[in-house]
Amino acid sequence: MPAAPDVVTFALLGRRLAARGADARLAAWLHGAWDHPPCSAAPLPYEIEITLAAAGPPVAPAAWPETDVAIPGHVLRFRSDGHRWQTGDPAAGLRLELHEAGARIACWRGPGEESPPPAWYHGLYVAVTEAVRASGLVPLHAAVASRGGETVAWLGSSGVGKSTTLLFAAEAGWRAIAEDLCWLEPGTLRVYGWDRGVRCRPETLERFFPHFADAPPAPDGKRIVAYERLGGDAAREGTLTELVLLGRADGGPSRRTDVRSRDVVRALWEATGVPLGEASRAVTSAAVERLSRLPAGRLVLGPPPLPLAGARGADQASEG
């Protein structure tokens, strides 16, 4: 195993992440998943402390209720007493503990676990996400762009067309903020784009955005269009003013329609995910309530042009 700095530390959305005992693989994963350029999120004296050891704490008592956490393509099983969450087994696992000023994530991998299973990293991702949630930020899976004083979040399940909508918006002069994930400050509705590039299927690029068809490939077969290629300034932040639920057209044209409040609520909970703990659940619930009061509509996606008009403006994205 290659050597790594004993302590990996960096700022994370105004919080601090410090990992002790991280080997090179874990250090690389932490930087790749969580070490993003500075943003204007208000600094908070909150530390997410990660330790890696060869053995973990005592096995979670069987009396701790089980809870399943679904992330794309995986379901992770945690045991929790309401304050601590543990997943894994004696060979590889982790335990998350939240406290007032931060979070501790104790990770372990036995000597024979040079290559921990992917579930170990999925568990660590869930744990860090929960820690950030507990500090007051909410993840929002949405494409987000800004133009003329309005910032729109396009919500929808994976594959519905968030990336394509974002690229059409960028072509129409909108400033791209996020393709799939941003972090939200519930009190201000400020969002911080979190993904590194716009992932899009090659056939979509070839059909609508051939000038981006040379974008480098991602491990999942999609291509990644760098935000720098979309123009605009570098700040990938904005204050949300409108929500748009994306849906697929049944052969008809692209169009805007009304949307029911409860459909907005469902889309928002699917976009934020449901937290592990009661405290972060309350934060997320307040965020969903606040977001639910924004102007909202539905964009039924068919052939371009897409009616991207926001609540305060009107424009059309033409075919690229």
Binding site: R266, W269, R281, T284
Partner: protein
């Protein structure tokens, strides 16, 4: 579905998330994606649910909304039946077991 007894008590299913839209209270069970929208009457019952038997809930409702006890009891039974069917509540002591 069996009739709901006046003395029956129910508990909210753990993990159900609430979103208060003022005009309605939206319940969502993340495990099943089941959603339920409550009006003002439903909200009052949901909020009072833990520990209160059906007849007490109906009494609360009759007083708060100026309706007869019988009308309130019908409303409470119907609402609890729908919430049971949606899996959002369970007989007290059974919540979360399914």
């Amino acid at each position: 579905m069996a009739p709901i007894a006046d003395s029956a008590r129910f508990a909210r299913k753990p993990g159900v998330v609430e979103t208060d839209l003022e005009a309605e209270l939206v319940l969502l069970d993340p495990a099943t994606r089941e959603m339920f929208s409550l009006n003002a009457v439903g909200r009052a019952v949901w909020r009072a649910l833990p520990g209160r038997p059906v007849d007490a809930l109906a009494g609360d409702l009759a007083q708060a909304f100026d309706v007869t006890y019988e009308t309130a009891l019908d409303d409470v039974r119907r609402l609890l039946g729908e919430l049971l069917e949606a899996g959002l509540i369970a007989p007290a002591g059974d919540a979360g077991r399914s």
